[in-house]
Each structure stands twice: as C-alpha cells, then as structure tokens.
Symmetry: C2
Subunit: 211 residues, 2 copies
DNA sequence: GTGTTCAGTGAACGCTGTTCACAAAGTGTC
DNA sequence: GACACTTTGTGAACAGCGTTCACTGAACAC
C-alpha cells in the first residue's frame, strides 16, 4: 500500500510548506503580521485549505512556538558541555540572550505573546521541553550545592527561577524598549551572572542579613 | 467668552469618557480586545466620532500606557520614603511586582506590547516618566556607593538595568506563563533582592573572580 | 437672517479569521 | 469500465476589524 503512504507524505509536505511560509512571515514581520490569507497566497492555495491542515491560526502559532523552543534548546546545547557549573550557567545565560536577540520575533512569540502558547510548552508537552530547558539552570546549582559551594538549604529551583527571570528580563526589555537600555545585552548578562553569584561589587560580608 | 470654554470642557469630558471606557475594556479583557467599534458603542457614539478625539487606536493605547505608567509611579511612591538605600530598593522591587500582578493588562500594555508604546515613555516624554522611575533604582545604588558600601567603580546605571530586568522578568514570566513558576512572585522578588545584594547563599568569597 | 464652523454620522473600503456547501480528483470495489 | 466513497481543494459568504469621507444638523458670529 504505497498509495496511502504517498498521500500521507504529500499531506505532511504541504503542512511543512505552510509552516515554513508562516515562520518566514513571523520572522520577517512579527506574529501580528501573520495572516491566514497572506499565508494561503504564499503557498498558492485558497485560505480554506489551511484549515484542512490546521485547526486555526492558533494551532499554527503553537507549532511555530514549539519549534522555536527547540531552536532555543539548540542554542543552549553547547553550554551543556561546559564542565564547571558556574561557567556552564554563564554560557547558558549568554546563549539564551543571544537567541533572544538573534530571533526576536520567535522569542516574542514563545515568551511574550499569548500565555496559552507559553504554558503549552511547560508541564504538558510530550517531552516537556520547558522542563528540559529549566534543568539547564537547576542542575548547575545542584552541582554547586553538592560540592559544598552553595548553602545546603538553598532552594535551587527557586534560585533558577530568579536567574531565568533575569535573563528573560534582559531579553524582553531589549525587545520591547530597544532604545532605553543603554548597556548592550551581553554585558548586562555578564553583570547579571556576576551579581547572581557574588552580589554587588564591594558589598561587605558584614552587611549580609542576620538571619 | 464662556461658550468656547464650555465647548472645550465638553470636548475634554468626552475624551475622558472615551479613555475611561477604553481602560475598562483593556483592564477587563486585555488590549487585544479593545476595538474601536465596541469602544464607540460603550460611549454611545458612532465609531467615526472617536477619530475626532484621537488620531487612531494607537493614540488611545499610548494615552492609556502613559496613564498606566503614572499609576506605576504611584505604586512606587511610598518606597521613596524609605531611608535605608537597600531597604528602599527592596521596597521598590516589591511595589513594582505588586503593580504588575494587580494590574496585569496595564503592565502588558506598557511593557510587553508594542515597542513604540514603551519607547515613547522613555527619553522623550515631556517629563520623562521613564527616567523618573529608573532613578528609583539608580539613586539607592549611588547612595550605597557614596557611603562606601558599594565599589567606587561600580556602574550604578548598569546595575540598575540588571535589577530592573530582574523584576520585569519576574512579572512578565508570571503574566505570560502563569502556571510554570512554582514560587510566588513576592518570594521571587525577595530572592532576587538578596542575590542581587549578596550573591548566592554560601558562596565563598574566595570563589570571586580574580579580576 | 445669513454665512460659517464643527461635532457627529452612515456608508463604504479593504482588511481579518473562519465556515460551509460544493466541485473535482483519486482510490477501492464490483 | 462503471459506480460509490473519500479526500482535497475552493468560492462565497459571515461577522468582525480600523479607518476615511462626504454629508447632516445644530450652534455660533455677524
């Protein structure tokens, strides 16, 4: 039965063509500029045909978002090979920021558009890509703890959340108010890493909270 | 000439009615749900009338954004009265996060929607409200530096940017993927403040970078 | 009373996402 | 080869959107 397989293949090919065209539109002009009609025109089909392959515009967005997240993981992958935990965390932060700046519209789509898109990536994804990315942050902290370089009662997950908020903040501020932040993003990332590890420069140990 | 004054007043009143209705719609259903036609219906005028008072939808958004930012400044105001710089920074962070969570759609509009909106608030505003808010972060750091509690060569502006990125990251992640971050926002804010000041708990001074 | 100004409007233009009855082509069965 | 069925694709339509524009009607100045 090669026929049904061929049909399946053709179907998948068209689906890919749609997604490719959609991605190009999003990357070039942003998610807001992604219109079903323009998308249909780009692949030379009638608008209604799109609905044979996707439930609606949201499903296309979701798929683009999932793939964008995979791309983020690819950016992060080299950092995983860094041995020293603090350096690894630093490398991950740099990679994350680089992804955000090099793929701004993709980043917007994933992390700044619709909560439904972002939530879909965490907790319920088939392989839970979100958790996988989050582990990039938690694990180095766990290793630091195991090595006695981080307080034994430190909440690594919570610290990772704060760290993530930091890099996400850097990227999203750069994307949303590009003019304001005078400092370049990678410099900000470096400063974030340094303060996250060591606090403010020149801050005396005696100033630490008593508790 | 009371006539033209009355006309002027009526004009201003209608403008306010429009903005009030617009704000309600945004607060209730988000900026995306703000439609000129529904807005016109809400104030019981024809859609075209809106264009006698605003150039277009964007101008309404800009005005709402400016007012939302004023509201943020009001949230921050009490923190300004805290004397101790570190405590003041902490209070500012808490107030900022509280604003973001209590006025999520307003926060989205100001900081996560259109770059044009956000940029308009910084650098060119008549009173540069953006710079005013940013001073909330820079000044405490300057005071710390003056008191010798922060390295003399520390770039306070850059540190403030990183700090801001941190709180913005906490808020915007909470708004965009509410389910994921397990930790409550105010706890994250506390942790952010602590690490920003003192680094990771249990991190030995000897681990500081050599440079 | 006359001329002018101006807030307000209905209708239209060109978009948008989405649906649905319908056509056409390909496939399986007799 | 003829028929039925499934899949693929479509044109037209619906309801909504932001925005524009010729036009009305009332209030004003003289």
């Amino acid at each position: 039965m090669g026929i049904s397989e061929r049909k399946e293949r053709q179907r998948a090919e068209l689906r890919e063509r749609i997604l490719k065209a959609a991605r190009e539109m999003v990357v070039r002009e942003g998610f807001g500029a992604l219109s079903m009609r323009k998308l249909a025109e780009a692949i030379e089909y009638a608008p209604a045909t799109l609905y044979l392959h996707f439930e609606n515009r949201d499903e296309i967005a979701r798929e683009l978002s999932v793939r964008g997240f995979q791309q983020l993981l690819e950016y992060l992958a080299p950092a995983a090979r860094v041995e020293e935990p603090m350096e690894r965390l630093t490398a991950a932060a740099r990679a994350y920021v680089r992804f955000g700046l090099e793929q701004p519209e993709t980043y917007r789509l994933i992390f700044m558009e619709d909560p439904k898109l972002t939530t879909a990536l965490f907790g319920e994804g088939k392989e839970d890509a979100g958790a996988k990315a989050f582990a990039f942050l938690v694990q180095p902290l766990e290793e630091l703890k195991a090595a006695g370089r981080l307080a034994a009662d430190a909440d690594t997950r919570q610290l990772a959340e704060v760290f993530w908020a930091g890099v996400h903040g850097i990227v999203s501020l750069k994307l949303t108010c590009p003019g304001f932040q005078g400092t370049e993003a990678d410099v900000l990332a470096s400063t974030l890493v340094t303060t996250f590890f060591h606090g403010l420069p020149g801050m005396k140990e005696a100033q630490r909270p008593s508790g």
